[in-house]
């Protein structure tokens, strides 16, 4: 006598309630539906997309170019003409700040790709082949973590963080660890699962098992982690650039823009608060997306987020 296990004492239990007598859906479809139901995640996605769009459109939305100096308009606060105000030299800040946003986003993308590459590969090797491979990877991770990350980044940032691309690679050299952990954990737990054993019993070799059976299951949690890594990357890069240990002017990033204007905090706080606000918004929206994905992927997800 088997039937889907239901435990109605859990209260609002959406996924389960639907499962009782509802139609069966594919995992991907169910995940997407769960995600769309998660209002915060949806909001995060919308906001993030909007920011990306504005970043690309920004130069077109104003008549001022990046270097244009208008001495007459120096050091103004936000106005209709200059939505974000101008700096000491009369340069429009709207363009500058969105340019900085662009660089920050670019760096986040580099970090996401590189860390996924390294972390995915090493995590998979460690998780699937186990024993010596696992020990090697784990010890490598421990080595990288002995000295607190921020310290390593501070030191390395001076030399390798001055250009956006190398900064991205540098950050990825530490952040891959998060991806590797997730991937490794998934591989470790899944490789002994019954459907993998069944595949082996049917004659599937390791590469096939990895690609066909294990990778799809890993994708989800990995994607969740990637959004969080991207969020961290943006914050870390901004922090390093703010400290002067990261991307150097004239290349703008949100971090070094804030650094540049921190002195005028009492006269023109908007110059700090606007890029700061953009930073927080990006980070928040990425976090929400990651959260929503995590809940959406969990087939037993009980949370119904308002």
């Amino acid at each position: 006598m088997t039937a889907t296990e239901t435990d109605p004492t859990d209260g609002p239990d959406v996924a389960q309630a639907e499962g009782i007598g509802g139609q069966s859906k594919s995992f991907g479809r169910q995940t997407m539906e769960n995600f769309l139901r998660h209002k915060l995640a949806l909001a995060g996605l919308v906001i993030f997309v909007m920011i990306v769009v504005v970043t690309f459109l920004a130069p077109r939305l104003t008549s001022y170019s990046y270097d244009e100096i208008n001495a007459a308009d120096r050091a103004q606060g936000p106005s209709v003409d200059h939505l974000f105000g101008t700096d000491e030299l009369g340069r429009d800040l709207w363009v500058r700040i969105w340019d900085g946003t662009y660089q920050s986003l670019r760096i986040a993308l580099v970090v996401a790709l590189v860390s996924t590459g390294i972390g995915g590969f090493l995590g998979a090797m460690a998780g699937y082949f186990g024993r010596w491979t696992d020990v090697l990877v784990t010890q490598l991770i421990n080595l990288l973590l002995v000295v607190p990350g921020i310290v390593v980044l501070a030191v390395a940032g001076i030399k390798w963080g001055s250009k956006p691309f190398t900064m991205g690679v540098l950050l990825a050299c530490l952040l891959w660890i998060r991806i590797a952990r997730v991937v490794r954990a998934q591989f470790l737990s899944l490789k002994e699962s019954e459907y993998v054993q069944a595949a082996r019993a049917l004659g599937a070799g390791s590469p096939r098992i990895i690609v066909r059976h294990l990778l799809p299951a890993v994708m989800g949690p990995m994607l969740v982690e990637v959004t969080l890594v991207a969020s961290l990357a943006i914050g870390l890069e901004a922090t390093l650039s703010f400290l002067g240990l990261g991307v150097q002017p004239p290349v703008p990033t949100l971090g070094n823009i804030i650094n540049e204007f921190k002195g005028a905090l009492d006269s023109r706080p908007s110059r700090v608060l606007i890029p700061g606000g953009i930073l927080v918004t990006i980070a928040l929206s990425l976090n929400f997306i990651g959260d929503g994905l995590r809940d959406a992927l969990d087939p037993k997800s009980k949370k119904v987020r308002a």
Partner: protein, 342 residues
Amino acid sequence: MRGGGFGLLPAPLVPLDVSLGESPVFAYAARRLLATVPLFLLATLAVFWLVNEVGDPRDRLATCSTCDQSAYDHLVELYQLEDPIVVRWGNWLGAAVTGDMGEAISQGNEPVMGIVRERAKNTALIAIPAFLLTVVVALGMSVWSAIRQYSASDYLITGVSFIGIAIPTFVLGLALQTLMLWSLKYWDLKPFYVSGMRDDSLLEFFRSAAMPAFTLAFISIGAEARFGRAAMLEVVGSDYIRTARAKGLAERTVIMKHALRNGLVTFVTVWALDFAALVGGALITETVFNWPGLGRLLIGSLFAQDIHLAMAAIFFISGLAIVCNLLADLLYGVIDPRIRFD
């Protein structure tokens, strides 16, 4: 984003399921320590190399008009700039373990140890209060959220913790500074200082330490509350809590005796690790608030290419982090009987 930790926590180096005779906990600690030391040494070599890559100390002299050949020679001798990096590292390490961390060329050639000790004390003066605040608030928030799930206060707590996680430390610090400046400008009130450390009186000290400590705490609380809420929810929803209720225990006992104890197991390890992260976060906070601590010392020394000073600061911070990690492992073993015996 948390300044120091950003969620990268080391995994135990040794599997937890080994115990030796009578004192498994201490044997485990010894084993862990033994395994960490070689990694630490290797890491110091890497960092030493990195710090030296930052720049050649002799470059400073290029702008110094009063410096002559003897200044160059002094630097070459001090840092053994002619020798291979491994040798230099070896000598540095050898001197370091005897307590001689060298001279700080950016601070009038004062012995490094004294400077580091002084600055470390200052960092502790904001890190420890921030830590205590975090512990109390995060635990409280987590328990509250777990027993009042989906209530308005739960959403508020969740919201606050999300902000704490997403906001970079320096942005929060700057925002608080702005707030204080506004408060002075528009309401003529200056409850807290936002720059530098005052130590003329206890009150003045408190007024100058409050903002940096709060910044550190807010970030930590964000992460801990989020994690803690999930952990406590899981505990509160578990079968043994149901059993406790079925036995007729008062709800208060159920939460305070059973749920809290089980939740604490996970919390305690997080606290140990978070302390290390907090110290890392101080690097940023001290810069924003001009606090004369270890973090700001490190950054300053990097810019000044003061190798000995930088290495000492890094050594200290890393050592602290290692102790915290070890403590986390030990605590976990002590509190959870399953780990001890398995």
